[in-house]
Point group: D3
Chain length 301, copies 6
């Protein structure tokens, strides 16, 4: 028998190995937060989109929420507008909000939709403003204590919002009709104003509301690490009730805290498992879903 | 009987007067091209959105296509990018195309969606890239004859496209589920590139493909005028086979020519009537639909 | 701008004014009891039917119950049969019941159906006998005390019934298929006998069973009046728990008592509001539904 | 084995014998024209209704059209109105039309509906006015030649109509929802006027439009007889192309001519077979459908 | 009137007599256990199948479970394999199980399906292995006390199973699509092994799970007899709470005990009535369902 | 990065490589003829079943037809019945037909159904007798010329049939409800007799009738070979119009002729491609579908 034939069964074996995962997640909603490296360039976006389409074709129902911080900052710079942050939150005046919306909805979302289309999926972009998908309200101002004087003052974050309620009927319509919805993280308040939202939070809350099986957050780190300097120190599984201790002892720290908290909230809201994975690894999405060990950190009840 | 009571019947009478129009257009698709004054400011957009929602509530199925030239030019200026036109067509390099998309999809469309939401309608924005709604290809370069030398040369318009085919399944999904789709006039080519399209043309072609009853183009003129300087010289009705003569004798001229040609093509494609109306008149949409005479120019077979 | 154009916006404005009401009652069932002046002649019936069709076209689901006392009396006279009443209830022997049925089902209902058809609605007449819509039983005899002797005796009302149960499946089938059902107030007992029913009561009970939003009773008075001789003394709103006092102090008296009691029972059965309005005012139905103040008396929880 | 047991198998055998007919007509529409003896009294109506319900329960879709001449005449007499006929057609002035409608829709139809209900069927009465079921126009006046003078004059039949078109959507809605529709033979003209129609004709035309399998006309004769004085001379089967000869040679004569012509027209309109049967024979409907020989005259292609 | 006509009404009368039963069991599921004489030969099977098809055509939803002991024994003999039983249960080694499956699924079921097809029904055979319809597990070994020594030993029954759970989705799919499912009484365990099941038990449990109206067991005795030697001593009705006493006093004994217990369990599981009838009587199925007295023993709450 | 991680991307890459095939055959019917080695033992059947389930889970609609010659012969031997063949066709007397049915339907089909169930698919066995799926008639006797005498005589093949018509409604019901139908190749004639059919033929004809995308025949050879003794001489692709020449020149010979002819007929009946593949190669089904070159012979238009 030719060498070619000898090799082929391996390929088929791999498909067969994937079968239990395919069965387990058949007709299950998989919420994927696109962020970081996974959206960094043409090639990365193509790869992420292709993987998402594959999930759809093997019977899952992927839903995408995307971020876009770096691109927003780039566009602001181009328009001669200086970005300002406070504790990681972008201070958002009206002009900034306009730019945020244009970049998220008009640039990033249409690009993702386009990439999914190229790979054979049917996608459509929606923002939180579409049929009042995300109703939000302005966040309370940030309180800051002047370290020298001890005086407290407030810093208004501008048009930064928190989610009040979700009308996911439109998302359901898309998944029911075999579309992959791509959600931009902006909300609308009762007066029709646009508010800037945290994309991870949007992904988590929509995942809960839609009874998603999984919430997968694509990041630029391998996951939660015991030793932040050692990528091999990855913690593969965390139980929800271990999180507090891991925060206290500093294992989960910095920007990882809100991500893990979003995961915990999603799980408490009914999502079966939440995953923080490394978008820099090729096909990380597939590896996390289709292998026993996965490649990132999985948080469960 | 009190004066109040005496007045009230007038109101009810007006509703009753509207009944024949409501009946005639029940469950009929009405394609509305938003443009010009109708989108000029907060108040105008609110008014147009409110009228559109009313159409929905009395049983029609409005579909919106919007333009956005002035806003695009404004944004380009802000970004220090000089807009260039040739015969009314915007020369669109990649950077310009990015700005066009961001403004159309990310700014104008989300605003219209938001306004419709405020007035009680369910809207969702889609661009021609969503599930390959509008497949387009690059227009041939423009040929120009140097008046002095008589030499011909070509000017490449860049990413300006012409419509090749439409996949209106997504638009149908929206109207079937009681949504008002808001379409941004950009297309996607076979390689996933974005192309800039003429909004009137998009409105006309989608209207044909969706078997719309009416195509209504909101402009900043009263309609087709016999004497362009006399707004009272409005031509109320034009038959499709009269159009050629009206162009030849100069009655239809300038920017009105492509608009009328779009109307003619739509009617030949099955739309029952096309209307060019004055978006500056308050509630022009309702007046055109709900009064016998209408307020603009109606083109029919 | 021409005078004509100046006037037109008023018309559109009125449609826009109606929008909030249209939205509020979209897909809501509106039970309308036709009676009195609203059915008095060709013109009145046409007007009432046209208003009913309008409600249908702007998205409500009207259901009609009609009375017919005067017409029955007229037909009985024609046939040389003397009508007899006791406390407002028609004493109904078999021959009378035949006439009642023929007039209600065969004359009044077909006329209403016909008028609704002329104005573009799809209507169909049903009686309480159609697929056992209204199962009823004979009312107990009326007890009367002879004022002179103090003796009590009973007067048998004949085939006058009270409602035992409703099978509204057929009504639902009609509204689900965009028909306006027109219900004649006769019932059927367990042996298949026909029974004469009070039309207001039928309207109220069917409204409750069908989860109607509104019960509107068309009468020949402006509503509940503080001073029965002063039509300007109309009470616009009555709370259900104010009704007892208004009956005790005589404000609600005579024939108005059972009407108000029907309204109260309907509201307790889940109907949101009940309205007693003046069918003599043109378009009273529309004025009550589409204006803030309404024109009659509204009863609510 | 007991005598009782010995007898029982006969019963079961009969059910088994009926099986081929049940299968053949499963889900087939059977149009039944009620007339003559079958409606003559309480007992006859009960029997006819019970048979109709049986057809429904064994899977057929019966549709009923009823006549009512004798009852109309009786009611007219009661009201002191003299009935007048010309060549079998009732001259119908407006007052007569009112009586006709009241009797057909208000009396006969409600009684049939009631009887079907008692026997466990769901019925609902409709007339040709319900949602424009039967659109008709006035018949041309009758021309009569004075036998003495040879002069011709016209006699206006009044509100006697001929069918122009049918909107059977409502009938379909009923059969689709397991109702037995009971149709009264009156029509509506373009101005909403009621017109008196021949019940046989209505049955035939609705049967064609609804793609009925059978048209069964209940009469007071055994069927078409070779010798009108000998009930044993029944012709069991007639081919459509034999009809002309049978009329010419006088076998089919008098009131039988229009009945047979209605049958022929129905068959030409797609009905598989038409049956003229004797409503005086108990269960004639079942005997015609469930026995090989039938009991009346069957007309086929 | 001819003699023929005189006879015919009897036939129609019988259909009319059946009407109340037809109505009562319309759209009701009727579980029929085929066994004994009813399957003994070509003619008997034809008769049973024809009766089953009749039930389907008059609106019921029959489901068939069949046994097959004698046929299995015959086939085993043919293959030179000696059948062994212990207390009525077939000791089932692997080879025997193969034969059991082949006979039940491959011979008896296909024959029943074929017979139903010939008589105009749509049938399809399923076993408990189809889409895991019947999940079962091996029965515990039988304990036997040696009468002489008083020693206990166990006898392994082999592949004899008891039902653990049912997935009746496939049965529902068949009845919803107008098929008559024919179920062979074998089950599947968690490892995919086939297990031999008692057909009466399968019939009873599927009847409960499917909310059947009736469970009818065809046997070779008239039903439960007071005096087993006197077929006229049939007990027509037994209440569930009388069963214990009847077993204690020996009225119900031997092979009748498990049958009656299956009936009791089915009734406790929601089946309205269970019937043990004599398959040797022609049309016993119809006689039991369509006559007031029935022909066998009916067990109810 | 760990070695493990290095390997993983290969796995994901293979899934991604499969994507175009998954997309191409999404919701397409794939007819698979099980035969030969693929059914030879427990392990082979498990493997084939698992592959079939995978096809289902990645969105295809597999339909299975199985053969069973060797098993039938084995069972006949066990029962002391000598199998006889003429030109590859089994001479089938009634007793043989009984054994054939028992083995195909009762043994092989239930085993396949069971195996598919174990691997997570929902399967159900049907034979050509289920709701008259395959209506067949007896084949004409075989004519044989005595080589010595030159005399012709006929040999009756017994109950060997040819397909007359297919009622695939039941197959469609299964695929519509996400079941994998497993079809046994027996047919039913007009009298309800069972007929033995060629499994390849059944697969081909059902594939055509069901508009299958592919017909895949599992055999025990690599496909069509140029040199029958050299498995490396496989012909990968054959056009339908090349078949005649390949038969004439002896490339296609013996038992391969009817297989190829079945493929040709299927393609002429609308199947897009037919494949003869080697069931001895592990996962041959997946390799044929999911690799560009495939592993067997593909026949197309």
């Amino acid at each position: 028998m030719s060498e070619e034939l000898n090799n082929k069964p391996n390929k088929a074996n791999l498909l067969i190995e994937a079968l239990p995962y395919i069965k387990e997640f058949h007709h299950k909603k998989i919420m994927i937060k696109y962020g970081g490296h996974a959206m960094i360039d043409e090639e990365a976006m193509n790869s992420t989109a292709r993987d998402t389409v594959l999930l759809k074709y093997v019977g899952m129902e992927p839903i995408v929420v995307h971020g876009g911080g770096p691109e927003i900052t780039r566009s602001m710079n181009k328009m001669g507008k200086e970005p300002r942050f406070i504790k990681g939150l972008r201070i958002t005046d009206e002009e900034t909000m306009d730019i945020v919306t244009m970049v998220l909805v008009g640039k990033i979302s249409t690009e993702i939709v386009s990439k999914i289309g190229i790979h054979g999926g049917k996608a459509s972009g929606i923002s939180g403003k579409d049929s009042q998908l995300i109703v939000a309200s302005k966040k309370a101002p940030h309180r800051i204590t002047d370290e020298e004087t001890g005086e407290e003052h407030e810093i208004d974050l501008g048009l930064v919002g928190q989610i009040d309620s979700l009308n996911t009927e439109i998302v359901q319509m898309f998944t029911d009709n075999d579309y992959i919805p791509v959600i931009s993280p902006i909300g609308v308040d009762d007066n029709g104003n646009t508010l800037n939202l945290n994309a991870d939070t949007v992904a988590g809350e929509v995942a809960s509301k839609m009874n998603s099986e999984k919430l997968i957050i694509l990041t630029d780190v391998p996951g939660v690490l015991k030793d932040p300097n050692d990528p091999k120190s990855l913690i593969k599984k965390i139980k929800v009730d271990e999180v507090d201790d891991l925060i206290k002892d500093g294992t989960i720290s910095g920007g990882m805290i809100p991500k893990v908290e979003t995961c915990v909230k999603a799980i408490e809201g009914g999502v079966k498992s939440a995953h923080i994975i490394d978008g820099r690894v090729k096909h990380s999405l597939l590896l996390e879903i289709f292998t026993t060990k996965g490649i990132g950190t999985m948080i469960t009840l």
